[in-house]
Subunit: 409 residues, 2 copies
């Protein structure tokens, strides 16, 4: 199903010193699958996160924000699938807090040192007892080389687990980066997707963490969309375990700061793109590049209008070069003073439209050839400035409807 | 296919004195179907229109705007299906002008007295010769009782022709209103849908026409959505043939003005809702009512977020009361200071969510029962003011994907 996406390569999922993961089957929604994950941090780790801007944010998202603000030193994370604990009101908050307290009690920590994450169906009560009953098994399973199993345990409608790693050298010290993510539908991150976790053993000052995680999200998870639905639970968390023996990085303008950000971004982008490649029902991976805008924001606005158009998405599914639909989406993207007579459109290297009309040399068979590929780049040139931006998305297929019509049954 | 939508009732399609319609098969795209319509007005008719806000507006839309501004007295309209003449640049403008000139020549009019409309595939050259070759047959067919055949001739992916009529009495004089529309996909009118024509024999001052057509569109075509794609060709035109013998209406605040607007709005709303009932692949007709907002605009914004969510739309298709998806859409609608703890959700009479969480008395089987209906009202109470607004939409089914994946083949 997923577009050019292989299962994680265990040899590239580097253990991160000071970060252990454990998984178990808690039966949150269905029996017979791993659905509960704990992530344990040694003291001294730096943690920061970005979260959904959906006003109906889930109870665990509210609690993550509060616990991160208290800065009492996050020491553990608790992740369940099968139930999003969103749209659950005050009762949902209390249930999420009870799971934090249960884990904190077993680890001799304060509840505020736990970050909870939930993913799954909205507006159902979180089964606290089942989660609590699974904690001991998950804790017993915890080890540093468990990233691949954790990537599996956080899946919902995902068809392929998503985990990537990278290594770099800072001041002669080998540094590792490993990340996992899940998410295949309700994907139009406006902060970060459903759940992304990125960890490194590098030493990063806590003051720098929020800036770093925000910039990473902006250039990775905030550039992808499957269906335009911003989830209630989007969370993207960055962990620096500070175990590597190099001078603490306290600026992204330093050589080591740039190197680390580069490696983190490489993994974050792979994870974000993996979510699109495994988008519900996806058969094609589409990069939408909008150039020649007055601002980066308007380029992204146009790119998202194309990426969200059901007509454009079904044309990609059908491999039908019905490319006027792309021009129509550019036109309604909301750039009020756009001049259609200045716009060019390319499909990979094929020049489709020039100055707002069909290019004289454009032949249907050239468009058709590109549309049959599994990876396609749409390039729109607005002809009004020097800004550019890119968004990644997938097509809209029968399977998207099937998956989302049958999700709960 | 269409949801509770019957073919037009000829006995309710009242001839409008001074307005004749003729149709023919011009073979614009495919042979064997009526695809060319002319509408002829006697001198003295008042005409006004509203058009798409898509910046990639089609050549005929640009020309309609120009011709209406010149106020030389519109005397005819020329409508083709099969080709939208959009995304066609300067060549498209010249082709549209050539069709106007061809019709004007046959009627001894100026080109500026013709309004052209095109609907169909984007970014293909308009076959002017075929249209010109069909004009004589269409003109020979012109008569006042031809509304039903015109409604059929403007269809594209529509499965049912859309035409409604109404009658009223002004100062003892019987007045008729008849309208036709088409449009089943690329429907998120931002002025009016693909094509709506509404005619009355009432006497309306030209000065009042623009206000009247704008207010009518605002309360009808601008409240519906199928897939959120704003067409390049949306046009809604109001004709008053001024043939009825009553005092000219020059204000909507008068008794006769209110009565006429009421009848016009009744027909316009039926046409707009018919487009949703016949939305591509539609199996359900959904009314989304958002109340308790600070402004009508924010209510409509929330209603459109729900109406455009692929996850909400597929849940309706599946009759699955996965209603948390509606709350999620409310949350990402973009009302920045929304308090989720103030929000209630109803499905018809079933109270689903209260103060942001599942209502204690809500039972899944009650939601399930409503979801199985072919007509459903979603009511969201924002709890922050007294404003309200309504949007009409349909579900997202396998057939939507099939129709739009196969449209050109």
């Amino acid at each position: 199903m997923a577009v050019n996406l292989s299962p994680p390569d265990p040899s590239r999922l580097y253990p991160i010193a000071g970060v252990r993961l454990g998984v178990t089957e808690a039966g949150v929604r269905k029996a017979g699958r791993k659905d509960l994950t704990v992530l344990l941090l040694e003291p001294g780790a730096s943690v920061a996160g970005v979260f959904t801007q959906n006003r109906f944010c889930a109870a665990p998202v509210q609690i993550c924000r509060e616990h991160l603000q208290r800065a009492t030193g996050v020491r553990a994370m608790l992740i369940n699938t099968g139930n999003a604990n969103a749209g659950t009101g005050e009762d949902g908050r209390q249930r999420a807090m009870r799971t934090c307290a249960a884990l904190a009690g077993r680890l001799d920590l304060a509840s505020a040192q736990i970050l909870p994450f939930s993913t799954g169906v909205i507006m159902e009560s979180l089964p606290v007892e089942r989660i609590e009953a699974g904690l001991d098994a998950a804790l017993a399973d915890a080890r540093e080389d468990n990233w691949a199993r954790a990537a599996e345990a956080i899946m919902t409608t995902d068809t392929v687990a998503k985990a990537f790693g990278a290594q770099l050298t800072i001041a002669g010290v080998r540094i590792s980066v490993t990340g996992i993510a899940k998410g295949a539908g309700m994907i139009r991150p406006n902060m970060a997707t459903m759940l992304g976790l990125l960890a490194t053993d590098a030493c990063v000052s806590q003051d720098l963490m929020q800036q770093l995680v925000t910039e990473l999200a902006e250039a990775s998870f905030n550039r992808v969309t499957v269906d335009g639905d911003t989830s209630t639970n989007d969370s993207f968390v960055l962990i620096a375990s500070n175990k590597a023996r190099h001078a603490v990085i306290d600026s992204l303008d330093s050589e080591s700061g740039r190197a680390l950000k580069g490696a983190l971004l490489e993994v974050a982008r792979k994870l974000a793109q993996a979510i699109v490649r495994d988008g519900e029902g996806a058969t094609k991976f589409i990069s939408i590049l909008v150039e020649g805008g007055k601002t980066q924001a308007e380029c992204r606005q146009v790119a998202y209008a194309i990426a969200h158009s059901p007509l454009v998405k079904t044309a990609f599914f059908a491999s039908d070069p019905n490319l006027g639909r792309i021009l129509a989406a550019v036109g309604y993207a909301g750039v009020d003073d756009l001049d259609q007579g200045a716009i060019d459109l390319y499909l990979d290297q094929v020049h489709v439209a020039q100055r707002g009309g069909r290019h004289p040399a454009y032949r249907e068979e050239d468009g058709q050839r590109v549309m049959r590929q599994s990876e396609i780049t749409v390039r729109v040139v607005l002809g009004r400035g020097a800004a550019a931006d890119t968004v990644w998305t997938c097509d809209l297929s029968h399977d998207y409807v099937t998956i989302n019509a049958d999700y709960r049954s």
